[in-house]
Amino acid sequence: MKVWVTVVCFVILIVMFTLISTLLILGATNKIENDLSGLYENVVKNNYNLARSNYLDIVKKWNEYKKSWAMLIEHQEIDKIDEELTKIKEYLFEQDKTLLLSEISLLKFYVSHVREMILLKIENIF
């Protein structure tokens, strides 16, 4: 009886933890990716004022998300995103379109990579 209680409790714990962490990261990555798409479009249109506003929104959201992400994913991934955000800030200030677009795409890739890593997939298991 005691063994079965342990088994059931452990399975419930794992399922709950998986659901909470997956939902948390999926929600956050979707929001950041949408905001990054907006930022990308504004840079393409040379609308740097709106792009700056997009950037500040992303940083504000990111600062909230990264506290919970630190408990769930490797801190190296968070550092990469922080690094990219710093680069984007500088290129936005310099209005360097080519570099900005490449860094935004790279940041999008990093964010989507986090999402891919958290999902239950065969390639993630092996």
Partner: protein, 224 residues
């Protein structure tokens, strides 16, 4: 950074001690193959997030708890089913039967003759002539059954009647009364006090060790 590693180490240490306790006393003694694997893996899993602050603590905690879960399942399974027990623990192998070394069994278990002789010597048997059976147990230990003429003489062999022997019970340890032990030997605190006063000690706090054997003999030592 240093304090982070310090706190992580504390958390993981408490977790590993807790997990080892939950795995039961068997985990501390002779290990079965699956228990050895789990113990090695737990130590490795705890060490990585302990020193690398870039790895979330949960990456260490979840695998450790998963191993505890697996160990509980396997132990339960091997208690309930002989098949599972054989599958995870293997079965004992007879290396010497009726005084003869079984070469096939040695080959199968990859046990050399030197290893066998060494283990027999450790067990106190220096002459292979004296051994009737030697069994390699699933935890790697060897059980030896000597020939009847070579085994130790027991009171039963000599026909000597023996009386019941229990175990001595410690009633006071390092100045503290063990309530459970008092209940076990059916003694009251007053009776214990009377005994220690007989030996010139007035306070329980002054007693280093007081124990009583099944025949009612007391051993009392005063604390310095």
């Amino acid at each position: 950074m240093v304090i982070t590693i310090f706190i992580r180490t504390l958390i993981l240490y408490v977790l590993v001690v807790l997990v080892m306790r939950l795995m039961g006393k068997r985990q501390m003694g002779e290990l079965q193959p699956f228990e050895l694997v789990i113990t090695i893996m737990i130590s490795e899993l705890a060490a990585v997030p302990m020193q690398n602050t870039g790895v979330p603590l949960i990456n260490g905690i979840i695998p450790i708890l998963t191993l505890l879960f697996l160990q509980t399942l396997i132990t339960f399974g091997s208690l309930k089913s002989d098949f599972i027990k054989r599958l995870v623990c293997g079965s004992p192998t007879i290396l010497i039967a009726k005084g003869k070394i079984l070469e096939d069994a040695l080959r199968k278990t990859q046990y050399s003759l030197n290893d066998l002789m060494e283990q027999l010597r450790i067990k106190g048997f220096f002459n292979i002539h004296d051994i009737e059976y030697a069994i390699l147990e699933t935890d790697g230990d060897i059980s030896v059954i000597p020939k009847s003429q070579k085994r130790y003489v027991t009171p039963a062999d000599l026909g000597i009647p023996t009386k019941y022997e229990g175990i001595p019970v410690s009633v006071i340890v390092d100045g503290k009364v063990k309530e459970e032990s008092l209940k076990y030997v059916n003694l009251t605190l007053e009776q214990v006090l009377t005994e220690i006063r007989k030996r010139g000690i007035d306070n329980i706090q002054d007693v280093f060790l007081a124990c009583i054997d099944p025949e009612g003999n007391w051993f009392v030592q005063k604390r310095r």
